[in-house]
């Protein structure tokens, strides 16, 4: 309403907060408006959840049928003669590496991201 310069007009702010009935907890608001909206970060987050679920599910990680597998590397045995690099072990290592990599990427995009306790930042080495 451009009706002159009357300074007595009402503020556009609604009278003191008739708070919405369901107040979202604080972290949900950040969730709704924050960096999590970035589609790239969302994709990384969902992949991270997927991997974490797989690792914790206890299900076989490498369920490719025999014919679809590529050749295994030479077996490695520990002192007791038990094979270390089993198919399962290698699949788990692979997922773990991808997981660490994803966490690194999320941190790069969102420095406020608190990585899980078992995350180790990549060592800077040659």
């Amino acid at each position: 309403d451009g009706s002159g310069t009357g300074r007595k007009r009402k503020s556009r702010w609604a009278d003191d907060e008739p708070k919405p009935l369901i107040q979202l907890p604080d972290f949900m608001k950040d969730f709704a408006g924050g960096i999590e909206f970035d589609p790239e970060v969302q994709a990384l987050n969902s992949r991270l959840l997927e991997i974490s679920r797989k690792l914790q599910s206890g299900l076989p990680l490498d369920d490719r049928p025999e014919g679809a597998r590529s050749p295994s590397p030479e077996p490695i045995y520990d002192n007791m003669g038990v094979r270390i690099n089993t198919r399962e072990y290698r699949a788990r290592e692979k997922l773990n590496r991808e997981r660490q990599e994803i966490i690194s990427q999320i941190i790069k995009k969102n420095p406020a991201f608190k990585p899980p306790a078992d995350y180790r930042p990549p060592k800077l080495q040659k």
Partner: protein, 117 residues
């Protein structure tokens, strides 16, 4: 567990700059009187939460080019305590019928005059 961890994370880090989204319409910003009114409303109301240093409301470009941050209002406070209080107090409030969403905005971007994100 991963999901829980994810949900428990604190949100984006608090900064001294607050960004209110979905606040003002292009029409209002085009009208000089309305614009001044809005500016005044912001100064008065948002100044209640602490020392408000600066209010920036991007306006439409006369040439018709898109303006970064159009529809948003940026509030710069003297300290994080004030901006945090303001965020708490303003988030979810209505301004001219629009429900305000208040989020922290990176200080470096603000000081460089970048308002797009």
């Amino acid at each position: 567990i991963a999901l829980q961890r994810f949900m428990l994370q604190p949100g984006a880090l608090a900064t001294k700059v607050l960004c209110l989204t979905q606040v003002v319409s292009v029409d209002e910003l085009n009208d000089d009187d309305d614009y001044q009114d809005i500016l005044e409303d912001m100064r008065v109301e948002c100044g209640k939460f602490g020392a408000l240093l600066n209010v920036v409301i991007p306006r439409p470009n006369p040439s018709g080019e898109p303006t970064p941050g159009l529809g948003k209002v940026f509030l710069e406070y003297a300290d994080v305590e004030s901006s945090s209080r303001a965020r708490q107090g303003l988030n979810g409030r209505k301004f001219g019928g629009n429900e305000v969403i208040a989020v922290f905005y990176p200080e470096n971007k603000f000081s460089e005059g970048e308002y797009e994100a």
